[in-house]
C-alpha cells in the first residue's frame, strides 16, 4: 500500500466523519421539526437554525462520493451497485428533504405542513440507511472475483445492521437536539435539552448492544483490537461527557461531544476495515483492498495536490459562514424560512 492510497483512505474517512458531524445535526434538526416543535412558529425557528448551512453540509457527502470515485473506483463501483436499493432510499430521503426548505417557504399556509413532514421523514431515512449500510458492510459481503456484490436481504438487514441504523439515527437526533439548544432561545431550547436528557439513557443501552453485536458479527476485535476498544471507549466517554455537559447547561461542550461521537464511530468503522474496503464473505481472496482498488498513482498524485490546495479555502469560508450565522435564533423574530 502506498502512502497516497493511505492518504486517500484517510481523507475519505475524514469526509464521512465531517459529513456526519455536520449534516448529522441538521438531520437531527429535520427530525425535530415534527417531533420537538409544538407549532409552526417553532418549526420555522428550528429550520432557520440550519437554513443557511444545510446545503453546504451535504456537499461533504457529495465530496466523499466524488473522492471515492476518483481515488478508489473499484470501491465506489462495488459499493454503489451492491447497495442499490439502500442507496436509492438514501437518494429519495435526500431529495424529499432537500426540496422541503424552499417548497415549504413558498407554499400557501394550508399546505406547508406537507414539507415539514418530508423534511422530517427524509432526515430520518438517510442516517438510518447509512447506519445500515456501514454496519452491514463491516460484517463482510458476498463479493466475487470481479468485485460484484450480490447480497441477499439478510446480508443488509440483520441484528447488527439494524442496531447500527437505529444508533446512527439516534446519534443524529441527539446531536440535533444539542445543536438546537445551542442555537435557539425560548421554550424550544429547554425542551430540546429535556428530550436529549431522556434519550441519553437509550443511547447507553444502544451503545452496549452495538459493542456486543460488533464483537460477535465482525472480526474487529481479532484484527484491530486496540483501535476498536479505544474508539468504542471514546464513544462511551463522549456520550457521558455530552450528557453531563447538557445537565450542567454547557451547550457548546454537549454539541461538540455528540459530534465527536459520530466522528469516533466513523473512525471505529474505518480502522476496523483497514486495510480492506469490502470484506468478502465468499473468500478472503476476493476482499477489496486499499491496495488493489485504487486509481493509478498518477491520478492519486494529481488529486492530492488538488485536495491539499483547495481544502484550506473550503474550510476557511465554511468556518466564516458559521461565524456569520453564530447568533441564536430567537423564537420571537423568526423570518419564516
Amino acid at each position: 500500500m502506498s502512502n497516497l492510497q493511505l492518504f486517500w483512505y484517510i481523507l475519505i474517512g475524514v469526509l464521512f466523519a465531517g459529513f456526519f458531524f455536520l449534516e448529522g445535526f441538521d438531520f437531527g434538526v429535520g427530525m425535530s421539526v415534527k417531533t420537538l416543535a409544538h407549532n409552526e412558529k417553532e418549526e420555522d425557528q428550528l429550520i432557520e437554525t440550519i437554513g443557511p448551512v444545510w446545503d453546504g453540509n451535504e456537499v461533504w457527502l457529495v465530496t466523499a462520493g466524488g473522492a471515492m470515485f476518483a481515488s478508489f473506483p473499484y470501491w465506489y463501483a462495488s459499493l454503489f451497485s451492491g447497495y442499490y436499493l439502500i442507496l436509492l432510499l438514501v437518494l429519495v430521503g435526500l431529495i424529499i428533504r432537500g426540496v422541503s426548505f424552499e417548497f415549504r417557504h413558498h407554499m400557501p399556509a394550508d399546505k406547508r405542513w406537507i414539507w415539514g413532514w418530508t423534511l422530517s421523514i427524509g432526515s430520518l431515512i438517510v442516517p438510518f440507511c447509512f447506519g445500515l449500510l456501514f454496519t452491514s458492510l463491516v460484517q463482510g459481503m458476498p463479493i466475487n472475483a470481479n468485485g460484484d456484490l450480490s447480497a441477499t436481504f439478510t446480508d443488509y438487514v440483520n441484528p447488527l445492521s439494524i442496531v447500527g441504523g437505529v444508533a446512527l439515527t439516534l446519534l443524529s437526533y441527539l446531536h440535533g437536539l444539542n445543536y438546537i439548544s445551542l442555537k435557539t432561545t425560548g421554550p424550544i431550547r429547554t425542551r430540546a435539552r429535556n428530550y436529549a436528557q431522556a434519550l441519553y439513557g437509550v443511547a447507553y443501552v444502544g451503545l452496549v448492544a452495538f459493542a456486543i453485536l460488533l464483537y460477535f458479527n465482525t472480526d474487529f476485535f481479532e484484527v484491530r483490537l486496540t483501535s476498536t476498544v479505544i474508539f468504542l471507549a471514546l464513544m462511551v466517554i463522549l456520550t457521558v461527557v455530552a450528557n453531563l455537559a447538557l445537565f450542567k447547561g454547557k451547550e457548546k461542550t454537549a454539541f461538540l461531544a455528540s459530534g465527536l461521537t459520530m466522528v469516533s464511530l466513523v473512525a471505529l468503522l474505518f480502522t476496523g476495515l483497514f486495510p480492506r474496503l469490502i470484506i468478502s464473505s465468499i473468500s478472503p481472496e476476493y476482499d477489496l483492498l486499499i491496495e488493489n482498488a485504487s486509481s493509478s498513482p498518477y491520478t492519486l498524485k494529481i488529486m492530492s495536490f488538488v485536495a491539499i490546495g483547495l481544502l484550506p479555502f473550503v474550510l476557511g469560508y465554511t468556518i466564516w459562514s458559521y461565524y456569520i450565522f453564530r447568533k441564536r435564533i430567537k423564537h420571537t423574530d423568526v423570518a419564516g424560512y
Binding site: 444545510w54 453546504g56 463501483a77 442499490y84 424529499i96 488538488v306 456569520i324 424560512y337
Partner: protein, 474 residues
C-alpha cells in the same frame, strides 16, 4: 421485462434531462439576478433590489430542485454503471471530485450567505455573494464538461490493466472539446436565464390591468434585462455551436452525418437538408427537402466540399474497432439538431426584435398582446433547445460510453437486477413528476403574487459586520 442495459439507459436519459432543466435555469437566472443586484448597488436604485429579490425567489426554487437531482447523477454511475466506473474511474472520478471541492462548496456556502443576509450586510458585500454563487456554478459546469468531453473525445490516457488510466491531467482539462462544450453550454444557460425571465415577465404583462404600478414596472424592466441577456447568450451560443460542429466533423463524423441524415456521401458542393425522414432499418432516406451549398458552407465555411455519409463511416469504424452496429438513432439526432438550432434562431430573433420594440422612445411591445404572447411563449424554447442539444450529444455517442474505448453494453452493472432498476426508474419518475409539478405551481404562484408581496425596501444600516467579532454576544 426489459433488459438492464435498456432500463439503465432510460434512467440515465430521464435523470439527466430532468436535472438539466434546472442546471441552466439556475445558472442563467443566477446571472440575471446578479446583474440586477449589481445595478442596484451601482445605481443605488431600490427598484433593482426589488427585481433581484423577486427573481431571486424563482432562482432559489430552481436551484433547490437542481441540487437534489444532481445527487442522483453522482450516485448512478456507481449504481447502474459499475463496469464503466471501474474502467473509467481513474479519469472520470477526478473531475467529479474537483467539481465538489471547487464548485459545490463555494456555491452552497455563498448561496446560504446570500439568502440569509439581505439587509444584514452591506449591499456591496451581499452582491459579491451572488457573483460567487454564479462563479461556482460555472466552475461546476466546467468540471462536469471536462468529464463529458473525455467521453466524447478521450485524451490524456493509456489503457493499463484493463482500464483507462490518466497520464496527462493537463491534456484532460485542455481537451479541445472542453472549450467548445463549455462555451456552448454556458451560453445556452445564459440564454435560458434571459429568455425565461423575459418570457415569464411577458406572461404577467399580458394581465397588465390587474398589475400594480410597481409590478408593471418591475416586469417591464425585467423583460428588457432578460432580452439583453438572451441576446448576448444566443449570439454566443451560435458562434460556439459553429466551432463545435466543425470539431464534431473531425472527431465524431458519425454523429455529424446522422444529424444531417446522410447515409450516402454528399455531393460536392453539399446540400443541406431542411427536413427529412429516414427509414433506419433499410438505411435510406424516405423523403427530404434540400437546400444547395448550405452544408458545405456550414461544414467548411466554403462553397465546396463533400461530407461523408454514415455508410462510409460505418465501414471505417468496423475496420478500426471491429464488427458492431455503429449507426446511432438517426431520426432522433436529425430532429434534435433541428429543434436545437431552430429554437436557437428563434430566441435570437425574439431578443433582437423584442429589444427594438421595447426601446425607450417607442415601447410598443408592452401595448400589443400578440407581441407579448410571442415573448411569453418563447419561455419554453430554451428548455427544448437545451434538452435537444444534450440528446444530440449523448445519443450521438452511440454505441460508446467513451468514444472508441468502451461501449454502453460493457458499462452496465452486472450485479443489479432488472427489478431493482425498474423500482428505481419508477421511483425517480414519480419523484420527478411531483417535483416538476410543485416547481411549476410555485413559480406560477410566485409570479402571480408579484413583487408587491416583497416587503417595502428598508433603509437600515447593515446589522452584521462579518469581519467583527462580538456582534452577537447574547
Amino acid at each position: 421485462m426489459m433488459d438492464i442495459v435498456t432500463l439503465a439507459r432510460i434512467q440515465f436519459a430521464m435523470t439527466t434531462v430532468f436535472h438539466y432543466f434546472f442546471v441552466p435555469f439556475s445558472i442563467g437566472t443566477g446571472l440575471v439576478v446578479a446583474i440586477m443586484e449589481t445595478l442596484y448597488v451601482t445605481k443605488k436604485d431600490e427598484f433593482y433590489k426589488k427585481m433581484a429579490k423577486f427573481w431571486g425567489n424563482i432562482f432559489l426554487l430552481s436551484f433547490a430542485v437542481g441540487v437534489v437531482t444532481g445527487l442522483i447523477q453522482e450516485f448512478q454511475f456507481g449504481m447502474n454503471w459499475s463496469e464503466y466506473s471501474r474502467f473509467m474511474g481513474d479519469i472520470f472520478g477526478a473531475p467529479l471530485a474537483v467539481e465538489a471541492l471547487l464548485a459545490f462548496f463555494l456555491e452552497s456556502t455563498f448561496l446560504g450567505l446570500w439568502m440569509f443576509t439581505w439587509d444584514k450586510v452591506s449591499p456591496k458585500l451581499h452582491v459579491v455573494f451572488m457573483w460567487l454563487v454564479f462563479v461556482g456554478s460555472m466552475m461546476s459546469a466546467f468540471w462536469i464538461l471536462v468529464a463529458n468531453s473525455f467521453m466524447q473525445h478521450p485524451v490524456g490516457y493509456t489503457i493499463n490493466n484493463g482500464r483507462a488510466e490518466m497520464n496527462d491531467f493537463v491534456a484532460l482539462v485542455t481537451n479541445p472539446k472542453v472549450m467548445y462544450e463549455f462555451s456552448h453550454v454556458i451560453a445556452g444557460a445564459i440564454t435560458l436565464g434571459g429568455i425565461a425571465v423575459a418570457g415569464m415577465a411577458a406572461f404577467r404583462l399580458l394581465k397588465k390591468d390587474s398589475l400594480t404600478e410597481l409590478s408593471r414596472t418591475v416586469y417591464q424592466k425585467s423583460l428588457r434585462v432578460g432580452l439583453w441577456v438572451g441576446l448576448v447568450g444566443s449570439v454566443t451560443v451560435l458562434a460556439a455551436g459553429d466551432f463545435q460542429m466543425k470539431a464534431m466533423l473531425e472527431t465524431q463524423p458519425m454523429k455529424f452525418a446522422a444529424a444531417e441524415g446522410l447515409y450516402e456521401d454528399s455531393e460536392d458542393p453539399a446540400a443541406w437538408t431542411l427536413v427529412a425522414w429516414m427509414n433506419e432499418k433499410e438505411k435510406e432516406r424516405v423523403f427530404g427537402i434540400e437546400v444547395p451549398y448550405v452544408l458545405s458552407i456550414l461544414s467548411y465555411h466554403e462553397l465546396s466540399g463533400s461530407v461523408d455519409g454514415m455508410n462510409t463511416i460505418n465501414e471505417r469504424l468496423i475496420e478500426e474497432y471491429g464488427e458492431r452496429n455503429y449507426f446511432p438513432p438517426v431520426n432522433a439526432l436529425f430532429w434534435n439538431f433541428r429543434v436545437m438550432a431552430g429554437f436557437g434562431m428563434l430566441m435570437l430573433m425574439v431578443s433582437i426584435v423584442g429589444l427594438f420594440f421595447t426601446r425607450k422612445k417607442k415601447p410598443i411591445l408592452y401595448e400589443k398582446p400578440w407581441m407579448l404572447w410571442i415573448v411569453a411563449l418563447t419561455t419554453f424554447a430554451p428548455f427544448l433547445a437545451n434538452t435537444a442539444g444534450w440528446l444530440l450529444t449523448e445519443l450521438g455517442r452511440y454505441p460508446w460510453t467513451a468514444y472508441g474505448l468502451f461501449t454502453i453494453e460493457e458499462s452496465v452493472s452486472p450485479n443489479v437486477s432488472a427489478t431493482s432498476l425498474l423500482i428505481s426508474n419508477i421511483s425517480y419518475f414519480t419523484l420527478f413528476t411531483i417535483l416538476g409539478s410543485v416547481m411549476v405551481y410555485l413559480v406560477i404562484r410566485t409570479l402571480k403574487k408579484g413583487p408587491d408581496a416583497l416587503e417595502a425596501a428598508e433603509h437600515e444600516e447593515p446589522t452584521i459586520d462579518p469581519f467583527a467579532g462580538g456582534a452577537f454576544n447574547e
